[in-house]
Symmetry: C2
Subunit: 419 residues, 2 copies
Amino acid sequence: MTENHPHVVIIGAGFGGLACAQALGGKPVRVTIVDRRNYHLFVPLLYQVATAALSPADIARPIRRILGRYDNIDVVLGTATGIDPAARRVRLAGGRELSYDKLVVATGSDYSYFGHPEWAKLAPGPRTLEDARRIRARLLTAFERAEASRDPAVHDALMTTVIVGGGPTGVEMAGAVAELARHALARDFRAIDPRGAKIILVEAGPRILSSFPEKLSVYAKAALERLGVTVMTQQAVESIDATGVVVAGRRIDAGTVIWGAGIMASPAAGWLGVALDRAGRAPLNPDLSVKGLAEVYALGDVASTPDQNGTPLPALAQVAAQQGHHLGRALVANLKDGRPMLPFKFHNRGNTAIVGRHAAVFDFGWLQLKGRFAWLMWALIHIYLLVGFDNRLRVTLQWLWAYVTYERGARLIMSDFER
Amino acid sequence: MTENHPHVVIIGAGFGGLACAQALGGKPVRVTIVDRRNYHLFVPLLYQVATAALSPADIARPIRRILGRYDNIDVVLGTATGIDPAARRVRLAGGRELSYDKLVVATGSDYSYFGHPEWAKLAPGPRTLEDARRIRARLLTAFERAEASRDPAVHDALMTTVIVGGGPTGVEMAGAVAELARHALARDFRAIDPRGAKIILVEAGPRILSSFPEKLSVYAKAALERLGVTVMTQQAVESIDATGVVVAGRRIDAGTVIWGAGIMASPAAGWLGVALDRAGRAPLNPDLSVKGLAEVYALGDVASTPDQNGTPLPALAQVAAQQGHHLGRALVANLKDGRPMLPFKFHNRGNTAIVGRHAAVFDFGWLQLKGRFAWLMWALIHIYLLVGFDNRLRVTLQWLWAYVTYERGARLIMSDFER
């Protein structure tokens, strides 16, 4: 009877939690996976929802549709509010409790604003679908407001977009906003010319894409500049308000500010009662168990996993997915056959960032690619990684259409957005 | 110079306003079209967004994209707050004013709750994209909450959906909710069986689809019942609360209540300072000018246009579209060549309602169709009427996919929905 099988509870159905569940699917284990949303989100393409190139449904898939085929997996729509490791229980909002034999915490991360939580409302980052729609609304509304004004200074300010953070997210957003302004919106207005929009990418460190080899950073910077993006390095954002930012002492008026800098682990890490690292992540043993706890494991951005050199692995989707897959299989072997939990070993499949419609960078370590070929590979890989054939078909068609027409198919301002 | 051309202001970019603008496009007239949203919405398919079969972007198109090709048309994102017919000015939120030579009021209608405005929050009707997403979230969340409960009585109540109003909207919603429960969600849950969901359509009059010939009403009722919908006629909703409704003295507990009954004209009709009819509509002369005002015209649901027998034309998309087209052309002839404004004559192209995935009814007056062939025609006509090739392609693919797989591709609960 399944009731006798050990019960694995997974909190979070992102890349890590989902991969873990899929590895446990169909095995002699009882699984309950909890997420506060009913869908799994393909976050790497979220910036395209934020810049009106894709719709939410193109990159999100109901969790029940993905895992429904496994009889041993129960999907719960709920929000975890606390963990009791001694009693081996997870508390959900509304009072429900889940008892576990093994717990997998895969709750991910959120943006951190360097001690300025009040910036979150002013400068959203593309982390959830709600964020992406808010950014999209803010961008499109800024152009609409510029059109309604007769003051050229107001035009300039509203058509200025500042993106904070020169990592892959910031770079991709900057390129996408440039394309939105220069192509998709270019002929739609009369009083303003969106092609004159200023897009500024601000990075506090010495170069953008600092996690990539320097050669690729240089290439990406040039590609962004060809798109008309101003790249400011070695300059930090000091303050953000409703009409702009202050960078290195200089004020920039902007209609839209988008965040792509610092992240921190989800609060769930704090419920475990163990010491966390500076980014709030739970430190893991090599087998992905949480240091100091029995029967509790963690995956992805909420955790800090050391690589062979002891350096924490980066907060990337592919790390979470590989961990989830490894952990799922290790748990099966352990619960079914009593085998010990093997250590996790990360295999870097390469990092990518896309810069507009013709350029991307790929870092495979031993091989680096850039340019149009890299961009094509980027597109194919992301389509492959999407979950679900219908999502793949939709995104493929949207991209083909956008490539041919330069249009962006999802330019709707939903009026439930409050500025 | 265009500045010397007469200025036509159109409030509203729905079926009426858009058709009028398109007829004025490229003509020696200056046009400003104002809408509080940046997109035109294909309302007849909104019930499919509400039941998770289509995404918002599939049926909405940015107004600027539709009208951008006409140099003489200015698109303004704004909300009209008042009309001064004596001064020939329209006031917008934020203080901006538009002076007009001719004004076209095409602001449409909204649902009316028979003197119970407090029901609006409890029983949304599919009139805007925000409504549709709210309904979708409520439906999907009701099933999720049922899944989380152990009480069979709670299951039954949450899996019960009541639709108020037996017109085309109510009939289409009822059929779509039945399909959502019986097919798309059927295998997704463990504790509940969505195929046991109760869907109840409540109509106060003697038959559903009362604006159609009786033979088609009978057919539609049978088709709904085959889908497992309970059709209650001659019974009116007496009250609505957070957990259900009271119909003809009897309480029905329901997880979701959807409104498809009474509509009333938008408040803009009241700004004209003329006597309105019982539904708040502005009465028109045969040439679509507002009775008692010079230079002001109205189209669509906000107005009451008498047909040859003096009966007001129904509030249908095709009426608004035909009126808009007629008015645009009449205004051009009048402003350019001084010709008198000809009266409008409605040509009924047929009314349709769809009942689930295999059945529709078509009333052409002299010809009535029902069944699978009618359903196919319904689908083709709606795809044809969609604005924009990419919307047509998207919807075609979504429908083909849904037809083959019984899936519904847009089953996302956006967490910014508050109950």
